[in-house]
Symmetry: C2
Subunit: 329 residues, 2 copies
């Protein structure tokens, strides 16, 4: 299966690594909006091209992995490239998924390509687990906790504060809330009760005590991002940040509790959790598995836009149906 | 969707309860090998028939749930009834799945029915999680732990010992082994290191101290069942057993740990766990969700034998594709 990458940031690099771990996949090209001569990839022999040249490589690509951002890139890129390629993206603006789906579906159906949107772990594997758990426990309650992990959006928000040189923010699930959920207490949890926010901040050189107090206050009172949470702010040096906080770990928990039995007398807990040293590397691994399914669905004549909900699990595997049944069932 | 049950034991009763929780399902009949007049079901208006009359009810059944045992019932029943009905079973003799699949597939393809075998949580949801985790982490290691829960097979084995009136056996995962797995230590675990076995035994009246010692020894040295485990034996009264051990809880953990990153420098842990107050009630809930998919696949002309690996997750849901995307993705 010939994979190409559009956009070589953290996710694009992750895709490159994941392709290397899947023996039926081959990276054929990387496309970038930057000057291609400034982009160095890790895989020997793989060339970097300008995105403007992408249509010249149509026949060398089974699935194009689009690694843009959800805010402005993907809403344009995925429908556009679905005209020419089988595509997959990790669009994660939950509220706009129906609109994005419709646009991509329209393009892919017309061009007889197969597209898969919103792939990764949330949306992605977490969504799958919400669906499965809802189907097997129709009467129950869903909970999703994230972390402990780095939120890029929250880290960026801190960096925009005057006097902040660098920052890293961790989202941390509240252990006591998890405990109550697992005990089938069906708690109604406020935002504050579910997660705390832990910030590591490098102030610009020469910051006074008053500067630090102002920064801390601006973080803790920032609407949407921090005001509704218990937030701790730790000022550290750039060296400390680079040494201890350079990776992008993440993870989380999807839990559904529900009742079974004639009188709903039985409690059940279904829990799915991830603990990931690198969020983009793992997200990429999920995407490459689904790229395999996209390619296979296209070969079967199954065109249009799909999500993880539409993919028979066997299509993700390098193993044959017989092998899967014999070894994994 | 019209569901019928063949075999009214713990699982059959569970199916009846699960049907009640799924608003698009209706229980149309229960079939039994016993004298139907001796079988009382819970759902008002539902009749119990002899299995000999089942073909007279062909048109009233969308999916037949076959609730027999894996040792001798299902290998005969599922291929036989797949000639006349869409069927689903919970065949769980892992080693014989390929043979069972081939027999059922043959019958279902010929008769243009859809069958799904080995449904439940293991095989079933645990299998799915093994597959997904293997696909997204091609380089890694799988672990399955069961419990804490009642093993019917082990309880039966104890009951066959001379001088034992009743017994209940719990399989318990070893916490320290789970800890090592979650820490990505990739331990090679022996049978003894993964699970312990906890037995609650009612001796026949008048048992002497020597009888109890013999029973305990026979349990602990029983090949295959107990000899390879650290086993504890507790003698209790029948009243105590009935009061504290009458339910059939179960559960377990499927964990895959694996590496991502260019130099495999990142660790990842994918963990799926179940905690179930009643094993048969939960297994039944899974089966009813998959019965929905069996019916839908049949309506789409997708005939033959399937497993959970072949079912697009969306097919399990009462919600529409749009609703799922909007609410669960």
């Amino acid at each position: 299966m010939k994979i190409a990458i559009l956009g070589y940031g953290n996710l694009g690099k992750g895709i490159e690594c994941a392709v290397k771990q899947n023996s039926d996949c081959e990276l054929t090209a990387v496309f970038t909006r930057r000057d291609p001569s400034t982009v160095k990839v890790m895989t020997p022999g793989v060339k970097v091209y300008s995105v403007d040249d992408i249509l010249n490589h149509k026949d060398e690509i089974d699935v194009l992995v689009i690694c843009g951002g959800s805010a402005t890139d993907l809403p344009k890129q995925t429908p556009e490239y679905a005209k020419y390629f089988n595509v997959i993206d990790s669009f994660d603006t939950h509220a706009k998924i129906p609109e994005h789906f419709a646009n991509v579906d329209d393009a892919a159906v017309k061009s007889q390509h197969t597209a898969l949107i919103s792939c990764g772990w949330d949306p992605g594997l977490f969504s799958l687990n919400r669906l499965y758990a809802n189907c097997v426990l129709p009467e129950g309650k869903d909970y999703t906790f994230w972390g402990k992990g780095v939120s890029q959006g929250h880290s960026d928000a801190i960096r925009r504060i005057k006097g902040v040189k660098d920052a890293r923010q961790y989202t941390v699930p509240v252990e006591d809330a998890l405990k109550k959920v697992r005990a089938c207490e069906n708690p109604e949890l406020t935002t504050r009760e579910k997660h705390t926010r832990e910030c590591f901040v490098v102030a610009e050189e020469g910051a006074t005590k008053e500067d630090l107090a102002r920064i801390e206050n601006e973080i803790k009172t920032m609407p949407n991002y921090f005001a509704d949470y218990d937030t701790t702010v730790n000022f550290i040096t750039q060296e400390e940040l680079d040494r201890n906080h350079k990776e992008i770990p993440h993870g989380g928990f999807v839990i559904r509790t529900g009742k079974t039995g004639w009188d709903r007398q039985y409690n059940n807990v279904i829990e799915y959790s991830l603990k990931l040293d690198s969020n983009p590397a793992f997200t990429s691994s999920v995407i490459v598995a689904y790229a395999r399914a996209v390619y296979r669905m296209n070969q079967k004549g199954d065109f249009g836009c799909k999500t993880v909900f539409d993919v028979p699990p066997a299509m993700l595997s390098m193993m044959s149906a017989e092998e899967i049944r014999a070894h994994l069932l």
